[in-house]
C-alpha cells in the first residue's frame, strides 16, 4: 500500500514562503501530476516527498507511515530527475545496479577489490545482474548495458534513469519534469511509454511538469499549483471544463481562454465589449464579473446581437483541422481568440467583420477576486461555491 497523504506542508527558504499549507491525498496506484509554471513550488513539494528537502511545517505519510525525518532511501521511493542524474563514470548496467547494490550488499561487500571475496557477495551480485538485465530488456535498452551515459542519446538516457528507478520496485515513483530535455517528437512517444509503465507497475506515480499537455494526457488527476498554493485537484477533463479559479482556467488550455470584464445590469444581462450576455441566477445588478470563454466555445453566426461578439479579424492561423481566428473586439484589451473548425468556416480574410456566438451555458463566470461562480440548479442561483473536494 502506498497512498500518500500530504498535510499542511509549508516550506520557506530564508523567510520566502515557497509552499503555503499544501494538503493533498494521493491514492494507492494513482498517477497524479503536479502542474504549474516554474517557480510555483511543485518541484519543492516533490523533493519534500522524496526526503531531499525538509519541510518547514506539516507532515507527509507514505502508506500508513509518517515519513517526516526519514532518510530518502528508507522511504521506498524512486525518483527520475530532469537531468536524469546518471553517474557518468558508470556503465548503464552499473548505474541501474547501484540502488540494489547499496541495499543488498554490506559496505564490506561493496569494497572495490576485496568485496568479491567476501562470503555471499557473488550470489547477490548475480541476482542483481539478473534483475538489471530483465529491467533493461523490458525498457528496450538491453543492448546498451555496457555503454556509458555519455554515449547515449537523450531518449536512451531517459530510459536508463527510469530503469534505475524501476529495479528496486519502489512503492512510489517520483518524476521531476523527466521529459523536458527531450525533443518534441520523442516527448510524445515517452509520454505514452511512461503512461504504459504506470499501468504495468500499478504503483503510485507523482509527476511534476509545467507542460499542460503532459499533465492532461497522462494523469488520473492533476493538481494545479500556483505561487505555492494548490488551486485545484481534479481529473484532467474537469480541470479544463470546470476550473475553480480564474488562474486555473487561464493556465490550462491552448490557445488561452478569453477573459472579458463585464458588469451586471437588470434582467440578468452582463455588458461587455459592446454586447451583452444572458446570465442566469440571481446575482445583484452592478456586480463586476469576468466572463471566461474557451476559444472553441465560439460558433459563427450571421449577425450581431445578444450573446454575440462582433469584431474585425486581425489574424488567421491555420492549424490543419482548426483555424485560430484572432478578433479585435472594441472594448477589450486583448484580441479575442476563437477556434473554429476549418471545414465549417468559410474563407476568412484579415480585416473582415465576424460575428461569434456563445451559448450561455458555455460561459465560465468568475468573481472579481478570481473565484469561480457556478450555477446552482436546485436554487436557480449562481453562487460563489468552492466545491468541497473529495480528497
Amino acid at each position: 500500500m502506498s497512498a500518500i497523504t500530504i498535510e499542511k506542508i509549508e516550506k520557506s527558504f530564508c523567510a520566502t514562503p515557497v509552499l503555503r499549507e499544501v494538503s493533498l491525498s494521493i491514492a494507492d496506484g494513482e498517477f497524479l501530476t503536479l502542474l504549474g509554471p516554474s517557480g510555483c513550488g511543485k518541484s519543492t513539494l516533490l523533493r519534500i516527498l522524496a526526503g531531499l528537502e525538509v519541510q518547514t511545517g506539516g507532515s507527509v505519510s507514505i502508506g500508513d507511515r509518517v515519513v517526516d525525518g526519514v532518510r530518502p532511501k528508507r522511504r521506498d521511493v524512486a525518483m527520475v530527475f530532469q537531468s536524469y542524474a546518471l553517474y557518468p563514470h558508470m556503465t548503464v548496467a552499473q548505474n541501474m545496479a547501484l540502488p540494489l547494490r547499496m541495499r543488498r550488499l554490506s559496505s564490506w561487500q561493496r569494497l572495490p577489490l576485496l568485496g568479491r571475496f567476501m562470503p555471499g557477495t557473488n550470489a547477490v551480485v548475480e541476482e542483481i545482474d539478473k534483475v538489471v538485465m530483465r529491467t533493461a530488456k523490458a525498457l528496450g535498452i538491453g543492448h546498451l548495458l555496457a555503454r556509458k551515459p555519455g554515449q547515449l542519446s537523450g531518449g536512451q538516457r531517459q530510459r536508463v534513469a527510469v530503469g534505475r528507478a524501476m529495479v528496486r520496485e519502489p512503492a512510489v515513483f517520483l518524476m521531476d519534469e523527466p521529459l523536458s530535455n527531450l525533443d518534441a517528437k520523442l516527448r510524445v512517444q515517452m509520454r505514452a511509454e511512461i503512461k504504459e509503465l504506470h499501468h504495468r507497475l500499478g504503483v503510485t506515480f507523482v509527476y511534476v511538469t509545467h507542460d499542460q499537455s503532459e499533465a492532461m494526457t497522462m494523469s488520473d488527476r492533476v493538481a494545479v499549483m500556483l505561487d505555492g498554493e494548490l488551486l485545484q485537484v481534479a481529473q484532467p477533463q474537469e480541470i479544463y471544463d470546470d476550473p475553480d479559479d480564474r488562474r486555473v482556467a487561464e493556465f490550462i488550455g491552448s490557445p488561452k481562454i478569453n477573459m472579458l470584464d463585464a458588469r451586471l445590469r437588470e434582467g440578468g444581462l452582463a455588458d461587455t465589449a459592446g454586447t451583452s450576455f444572458s446570465i442566469a441566477g440571481n446575482i445583484g445588478p452592478g456586480t463586476a464579473l469576468t466572463l471566461g470563454i474557451r476559444p472553441e466555445a465560439f460558433h459563427l453566426v450571421d449577425a450581431g446581437g445578444r450573446n454575440v461578439l462582433t469584431g474585425a479579424v486581425r489574424l488567421v492561423e491555420h492549424m490543419g483541422s482548426d483555424l485560430y481566428v484572432h478578433l479585435d473586439v472594441p472594448g477589450t484589451d486583448h484580441p479575442v481568440v476563437a477556434r473554429l473548425l476549418a471545414e465549417r468556416a468559410p474563407q476568412i480574410a484579415t480585416g473582415q467583420t465576424l460575428h461569434l456566438g456563445v451559448k450561455p451555458e458555455r460561459l465560465l463566470l468568475f468573481s472579481a477576486d478570481g473565484k469561480r461562480l457556478r450555477h446552482d440548479h436546485h436554487r436557480n442561483a449562481t453562487v460563489l461555491r468552492i466545491k468541497e473536494r473529495v480528497q
Binding site: 522524496a50 532518510r71 532511501k73 525518483m79 563514470h89 547501484l98 547499496m102 556509458k148
Partner: protein, 318 residues
C-alpha cells in the same frame, strides 16, 4: 570590391560573367587568407623565436662540447648523453627528482582534496581558510625557503624545539642525507597544497546537486558512499589536471634546493633542474647541460602526452 559586388548579384549567365565571379571569389579567398595570417602571425613569431628555436638550439648544443663563452666547439655526437647516464651525480639527481615527485604529487593531491572537502563541508569562514591555504602558493618560494630554514634549524628551529618538547627524536633536517629529501618534499607539498585545493574547490562546486540527490535516493547517502559514488569520480578531470601540473612543478623544483641545500649533503638533495643549472652556468659545460635539458624535456613532454592521450579519455567518461 564594387566589381565583385556587381558580378555577384548578376545571374551567372555568360561565360564572361562566370569568369568575373570566379575572379571575385579568388580575390575574397586571398583577402581572407591574408587576414588569417596577419592575426596569427605575431603569436606564431613569438612561439618560434621563444620556444621552437631555443629547443632546437638545445638539441644542437647537446651534440657538441661547447663551453659557455668559448669561441670554438666540436661535434661529439651522443657523447654527452653517454657521459650523462654514466655520471653517478646525474643518476642520483634523477633518482632524487623521481623520489621527490613521488612524495610531493600524491601528498599534494590527498591533502589538497582533504582540505577542499573540509572547507566545503563547513559553513563558516570559508574565504579565510581558502586564503590562508592559498598564501604559500602566492608567496615567493625563495623568501619562504629562508623562513623554512629558520624553522628547520637543528638547534633553535621551531620544529626541533617542538619535537624536543614533546620528547620526540630531533634531526638535522637539511644536513642529514636521510631527511633532506623528505624535508624538501614537505616544503614542496606545503607550497602546492593551496593550488590543488583551489582547483579541487572549483571542481567540487561544479558537481551537479542532482547527482548527490540521486545518490541519496539510491541509498548511497553515507559520507564514504557519497564520496565514492559521486565526489571522487566527478573530480576525475580536475584530479588529472592537478596531477599533471603538480608533477611538472615538482620536476622543476629549483629554488628550495638552491637556497637551502645546494644539492647536499653529498648528492642527497640534488635534483634535475639544479644539476642542469650548475653544469651549465657554474661549471660552464653548456653542451653537457644541454643534454641534461634534453632528458628533462623528454620527461616533461612524456607527462603531457600521457595526459592528452591516455588519461583524458578515461577521466571524462566518454
Amino acid at each position: 570590391m564594387s566589381r565583385a559586388a556587381s558580378t555577384a548579384i548578376k545571374p551567372a549567365g555568360s561565360s564572361a560573367d562566370r569568369h568575373g565571379t570566379r575572379k571575385a571569389l579568388r580575390h575574397h579567398r586571398l583577402a581572407e587568407t591574408f587576414a588569417a595570417w596577419s592575426l596569427a602571425g605575431p603569436a606564431l613569431v613569438l612561439l618560434v623565436v621563444l620556444f621552437f628555436l631555443p629547443v632546437f638550439a638545445i638539441f644542437a648544443i647537446a651534440l657538441t662540447d661547447w663551453q659557455f663563452g668559448a669561441s670554438n666547439l666540436s661535434f661529439v655526437g651522443l657523447g654527452n648523453f653517454k657521459e650523462v647516464f654514466a655520471d653517478e651525480g646525474f643518476r642520483a639527481s634523477l633518482v632524487n627528482t623521481i623520489l621527490y615527485v613521488v612524495i610531493v604529487v600524491p601528498g599534494t593531491i590527498v591533502l589538497g582534496l582533504t582540505i577542499a572537502l573540509l572547507i566545503e563541508s563547513g559553513k563558516s569562514c570559508r574565504a579565510f581558510y581558502r586564503a590562508i591555504h592559498f598564501l604559500p602558493f602566492m608567496a615567493t618560494l625563495t623568501a619562504m625557503a629562508i623562513a623554512w630554514e629558520a624553522l628547520l634549524h637543528p638547534t633553535i628551529g621551531l620544529v626541533n624545539q617542538t619535537l624536543a618538547g614533546l620528547g620526540l627524536p630531533t634531526a638535522n633536517w637539511l644536513r642529514d642525507e636521510n631527511t633532506v629529501l623528505p624535508a624538501l618534499a614537505m616544503i614542496g607539498i606545503w607550497q602546492n597544497l593551496g593550488y590543488a585545493m583551489v582547483l579541487f574547490l572549483a571542481g567540487l562546486k561544479s558537481i551537479p546537486q542532482d547527482l548527490y540527490d540521486a545518490a541519496d535516493i539510491d541509498g548511497a547517502d553515507l559520507w564514504l558512499d557519497r564520496l565514492r559514488t559521486v565526489t571522487l569520480p566527478m573530480l576525475g578531470p580536475v584530479t588529472m589536471f592537478v596531477f599533471i601540473v603538480v608533477a611538472l612543478k615538482a620536476f622543476e623544483t629549483f629554488d628550495t634546493v638552491q637556497v637551502l641545500t645546494q644539492g647536499g649533503p653529498g648528492h642527497a638533495s640534488e635534483m634535475l633542474l639544479y644539476t642542469l643549472y650548475r653544469e651549465s652556468f657554474e661549471y660552464l659545460r653548456t653542451g653537457y647541460g644541454a643534454s641534461v635539458a634534453v632528458v628533462f624535456l623528454s620527461i616533461v613532454v612524456a607527462l603531457t602526452l600521457i595526459q592528452a592521450r591516455v588519461m583524458d579519455r578515461k577521466v571524462h567518461y566518454q
